[in-house]
């Protein structure tokens, strides 16, 4: 039972990160019908920028918690600017192009970002300083660290805030209106371009936070960390029903749990033949199954092709 609860906790932590990144995929898809494959790299840039800012802050002798806060804020701002620029430079000129063109561009942007990060931060793994108290608690016989508690709380707060924004504000209504019918939204005075830019910026802010979280949890940052994480979060978005925000959250948490329970028990199930480093298998098994058996995802509706 201890393994079970431990893996549940690990899964929830990992799942919160997936959910936050998946929201970025799903919001952009909801509005543009585009899968922004560069989104995973935004997470990586978020982690890297935070790392540099934190190292700098520490070298000026700032207290660790303040350094972490400044790192997070700068990283959110940087990623919002990055998200805005990606949309402006790579996707907006292709708004009316065939759907394959922006998709290929997205992959291109992702490679450019990865390479730039490699040039700036180097190829080596960076130790992400542990800035929070190292305490931990026992819950149902499983260990949960304070960093993990913080990750779950911050993720919940940000996702709740996003839902409120989308459902209770003028900006959120404009976003949903553009997602449903851009030309009618324009007739109501909604500036579609600025709504789309804002969507990219919100998604990038979540991605930056997720990047900092995951680096803080594992204590490591690397220029390549965005690509697998991005694929997993995309899987989570598809699992929940891409385009549906609740779907992204449910899908993220569920994928985190599946992966973590899978990793916890794969050794026993295969008689010790396979180890927990095979956990990625579960994610992509989920992706393939969803695509075959329920392409619209758990919460997704079958959406008519936009005319």
């Amino acid at each position: 039972m201890d393994t079970f609860f431990q893996q549940i906790i690990n899964g929830l932590v990992q799942g919160s990160v997936y959910a936050m990144v998946a929201l970025g995929y799903t919001m952009v898809y909801g509005i543009l019908g585009l899968i922004n494959f560069a989104h995973g790299e935004v997470v990586m840039v978020g982690a890297m920028v935070a790392l540099s800012v934190i190292q700098l802050s520490i070298s000026y002798g700032l207290p660790p918690i303040l350094a972490l806060l400044i790192g997070l804020m700068v990283s959110i701002a940087a990623c919002m600017a990055l998200g805005y620029s990606i949309e402006r430079v790579a996707y907006r000129p292709l708004r009316k192009a065939p759907r394959l063109a922006p998709l290929i561009t997205a992959i291109g942007v992702s490679m450019v970002l990865q390479t730039l990060a490699m040039i700036i931060w180097g190829r080596e793994y960076h130790a992400f300083p542990s800035l929070l108290p190292n305490g931990s608690h026992i819950l149902f016989g499983a260990i949960i660290t304070e960093v993990q508690i913080l990750i779950i709380l911050v993720a919940l707060a940000m996702m709740g805030g996003l839902l409120l924004l989308v459902h209770r504000t003028r900006l959120g209504r404009a976003m949903r209106a553009v997602a449903e019918d851009p030309s009618i939204a324009t007739l109501m005075g909604v500036n579609t371009n600025s709504v789309i830019s804002t969507t990219f910026m919100l998604g990038s802010a979540l991605a930056a936070t997720a990047g900092v979280m995951i680096s803080a949890n594992y204590g490591i940052a690397h220029y390549y960390m965005g690509s697998v994480l991005g694929l997993k979060a995309f899987t989570a978005a598809v699992l929940g029903g891409i385009g549906n925000m609740y779907g992204a959250m449910v899908g993220g948490l569920l994928l985190g749990l599946i992966e973590s329970l899978g990793a916890g028990y794969i050794g026993d199930l295969s008689g010790g033949f396979l180890g927990s480093h095979y956990q990625d298998v579960f994610s992509f098994f989920v992706l393939i199954s969803v695509l075959i058996f329920r392409p619209s995802g758990l919460l997704g509706e079958r959406v008519a092709e936009r005319s």
């Binding site: 924004l165 209770r168 504000t169 003028r170 900006l171 959120g172 209504r173 404009a174 949903r176 209106a177 449903e180 019918d181 030309s183 009618i184 939204a185 324009t186 007739l187 109501m188 005075g189 909604v190 500036n191 804002t198 910026m201």
Partner: protein, 286 residues
């Protein structure tokens, strides 16, 4: 009601508006004017170019030639939708185009977008100005819903409203933009006579409230009993523009609708059938 300094200056004046698709001319040299505070009808057989004209007026299509003046400002043939919406032209659609997965209330609130300001900063901080604006938007949307007569819970999704309610919701959403001119594309299509009568009353109320009404309709009886003036389009050309009484007797209109010379028509009948168009007549009596 008529607030302009020049009450008799037309609110909307079209000059030589033309539009063709490929080689097909949908509108040619349309000129007409709509006065402030009137209900102006636009009729014509299917394919006459009525909806094309609406699309030009609301910036969904570019005109090939011509220009129009709205509320003392001149616009070329190709204006952005939101510029025209801001100037005060709102519309509804022949095939209803609501935000179907948003609630009735939210649809009207999106209509307020044009006249409200708060952006991402307001959304994140929820400062006093944003909250006040949101309250104002909410109250205005509720008033508009009851004004057009939607009595269901305002949280009903637009797609779950009845057909007649959806048409009214579209009108409420258009009114939320504070239009000077509301353009309605076949607002009573598919409605029964009770619904049609109450919609007619609503349109008169809207006019009494100071908004000029432009209406496309196939129900000729409705147009003739509701409108102050009527223009008739046929094959992309304006063939008549007059009061309903004059339109009834206009020979070009009769021949456009019935495909016969007025003389032959008068031999067969002494009065113009009021409501039947050829396509509807065929539908009723196959």
């Amino acid at each position: 009601m008529m607030t302009s300094a020049k009450p008799h200056a037309p609110l909307l004046e079209l000059s030589d508006i033309g539009k063709s698709f490929g080689g097909l001319s949908a509108l040619s040299d349309i000129s007409l004017h709509i006065r402030r505070g009137e209900i102006y009808g636009l009729i014509g057989p299917n394919g006459a170019g009525k909806t094309t004209l609406f699309n030009i007026l609301t910036g969904l299509y570019r005109a090939d030639g011509g220009r129009f003046t709205f509320d003392n400002t001149e616009y070329g043939g190709h204006c952005k939708s939101h510029t025209l919406a801001r100037a005060g032209i709102a519309r509804t659609f022949q095939n209803i185009r609501l935000f179907s997965n948003m609630t009735a209330l939210e649809n009207v609130m999106v209509g307020r977008h044009l006249r409200t300001r708060s952006g991402i900063w307001g959304a994140l901080t929820r400062n006093a100005a944003t909250r006040a604006e949101e309250r104002e938007t909410l109250q205005r949307a509720r008033e508009l819903l009851s004004y057009v007569g939607i009595n269901r819970p305002h949280q009903t999704l637009a797609k779950n409203l009845s057909y007649g309610e959806q048409r009214r919701l579209e009108i409420a959403r258009a009114l939320a933009t504070d239009p000077k001119l509301i353009a309605l594309d076949e607002p009573v299509a598919g409605m029964n006579s009770t619904e049609t009568d109450s919609l007619k009353k609503l349109l008169r109320d809207i006019r009494a409230g100071g908004t000029t009404v432009l209406i496309i309709e196939h129900d000729v009886k409705l147009i003739l009993s509701l409108c102050d003036r009527v223009a008739v389009l046929d094959q992309g050309k304006k063939i008549a523009e007059d009061t309903p009484d004059q339109i009834k007797c206009n020979s070009a209109v009769i021949s456009a609708y019935f495909g016969i010379e007025p003389a032959a028509y008068e031999q067969n009948s002494t009065k113009l059938p009021t409501a039947r168009l050829p396509d509807q007549a065929n539908h009723d009596h196959p």
